[in-house]
Amino acid sequence: MSGEKTRVLVVDDEEIVRESLGGWLEKDGHEVVSAPDGRSAVELLKKAKWNVVLLDLKMPGMDGLQVLAESMKLQPDAAAVIMTAYATVDTAVQAMKLGAFDYLVKPFDPEELSLMMQKIIAQQRLVRENVVLRKALKNEQRFRDLVSKSAAMQRVFELAQVAAKSNSTILVLGESGSGKEVLARAIHAESPRAGGPFVAVSCAALPETLLESELFGHEKGAFTGAVARRKGKFEMAHGGTLFLDEVGDVSPKLQLDLLRVLEERRFHRVGGSELVEVDVRVIAATNKDLRKAVADGSFREDLFYRLNVVPVVLPSLRERKEDIPLLVSHLLERLSAEMHKEISGVSTDAMATLVTHDWPGNVRELRNVLERGAVVATGSVIQANDLGLGRPGGGAEPAAAAAPASLEEVEKHHIGTVLQHTGGNVTQAARLLGIDRVTLYNKIRKYQLRRDDPERPGQT
């Protein structure tokens, strides 16, 4: 027997039962205290913490079920077990309804009692571990990556912390990479729903029909391939928070579905007729200008107002450049740990490069640049040329400062840079360039660009 002792309260009006049960449990290494009646048991429940409460059903005065009800109120984490010599289905059902862990008929088989105690101890150990892990996770997530000393971000933190305590829908607005999901996770961790799940879904990543099934789930046979009923993200987030990222990209049909579920907190699974009710707090995010989208008719005005209950605007990194040294030190600390590589900081030149860069990809881009720097650096200090950002103040590449170039050369260079930025993702690059994918493919072929290494001729 190792670890802390399990504290057991035995409540029985028969002394011989208290003695023999107490003795049996003490030999298992448990700490046992007995009470001869319900009233003294309630006093003991008020005074000390118990892991297990073994309660005789029939006692003069307060009976076992009354003590059970008190025990559930005073110490809901303690496993209460009803013991009786006169078992009836009614009392057993009543005991279980009141929250009893088990119901035993006296005398018990030694194996039954032994297994029950083992089950209680194992379950309580899991619950304790779960609490510790959740706490650790919460500490880990609580505004961890939202490192800032800028006044604008301090206002965001204050608003987010207040909003976290409410149940209102939050709309996080900010550029790509500015930390919208990180903020949403921190709000969840700070909210009364922290014990529930945090479920994130990117609305831009999936076509309409798939997103519908992803959000609302589907019934078996709802469409080809629906071989079993599947829960959607709304159901998975029950009791917690649902983070709808890139909500500005949702199709008009799904905008209507979202509006309904936000208003009624219930929905049908795809192909289903049963109404599913959920208790979910929604945090939506977008990098789009939703007011403009409402004005041009691509986003429903009623949905916008449903989402825009508490708007939180995350400033871009270039609007809070004073945070860059702080973020660099914070991100390097984490990168060092993740990469098992000692990185003590960046050189003065490297810091100047970082501070003057425009950061279109915000904190995410900063992290990636630092990761590259940490990989490339030969010593423990990252140098300016380890970062791959070009010279200080020059942006990504000094194209504009070079000798005058033709329009075609500028276009070739720009497409190459955007492809590099998207990691070779043509769809994303086409969106950023404001042209369709076919046009972009034609230009890549024309300029013999390679998707993974811009400005190098492609191998054909």
Partner: protein, 179 residues
């Protein structure tokens, strides 16, 4: 008088081979002299007419009244034992006390397994177990240790007849403190 008194207090006549087998295990486990003998009578007052079983707690009380000063006493019996909350027990002991009792009544299950040697071995293990309680040891989490909890004969068969290192150290510590 120091050491252990091993008394037969069963209904049927004592089996000397069983008593000798148990005695040798106790000597090995506790490193103390073990005196064999027939009990000073039988604990008839411990019989419960309603349950038609023998109260192990009643037997402990009976043994305690008759135990010689300074000795631990283990009563061996063949009657079916119970404590009020359990359907049966293999044995019982006063934790850190003087008396312990073990019964062979349920150690012969299933009957085809219950030949003499199997019962002797199981009885010896339970005798070490209950006396271990009398020496202040609680149940041990090591399944092979004699101080492991046994709710059925399978549990008994899984155990060895002696104490694990941790329980032995606990026993030595207690004996150092009491001297």
């Amino acid at each position: 008088m120091e050491g252990i008194q091993l008394w037969w207090i069963g209904e049927r006549p004592a089996d000397p081979r069983l008593l000798e087998h148990v005695r040798s295990h106790l000597v090995r486990a506790f490193d103390l002299p073990v005196a064999l003998g027939d009990g000073p009578g039988r604990p008839t007052t411990a019989f419960d007419t309603r349950r038609r079983q023998w109260s192990s707690t009643g037997i402990l009380r009976w043994l305690l009244e008759r135990a010689p000063d300074g000795a631990k006493v283990l009563g061996l019996t063949d009657v079916d034992l119970f404590i009020p909350i359990l359907t049966f027990v293999f044995g019982e002991a006063q934790l850190g006390g003087v008396a312990a009792v073990v019964s062979t009544a349920r150690l012969g299950d299933p009957p085809e397994m219950g030949d003499g040697r199997v019962i002797w071995e199981r009885t010896a293990k339970e005798a070490v177990h209950e006396l271990g309680h009398a020496f202040g040891l609680v149940h041990c989490g090591t399944p092979s240790c004699a101080m492991g909890r046994s709710s059925n004969v399978r549990d008994v068969d899984q155990k060895r007849g002696d104490l694990c290192g941790t329980c032995r150290a606990g026993l030595d510590e207690r004996s150092r403190r009491s001297t």
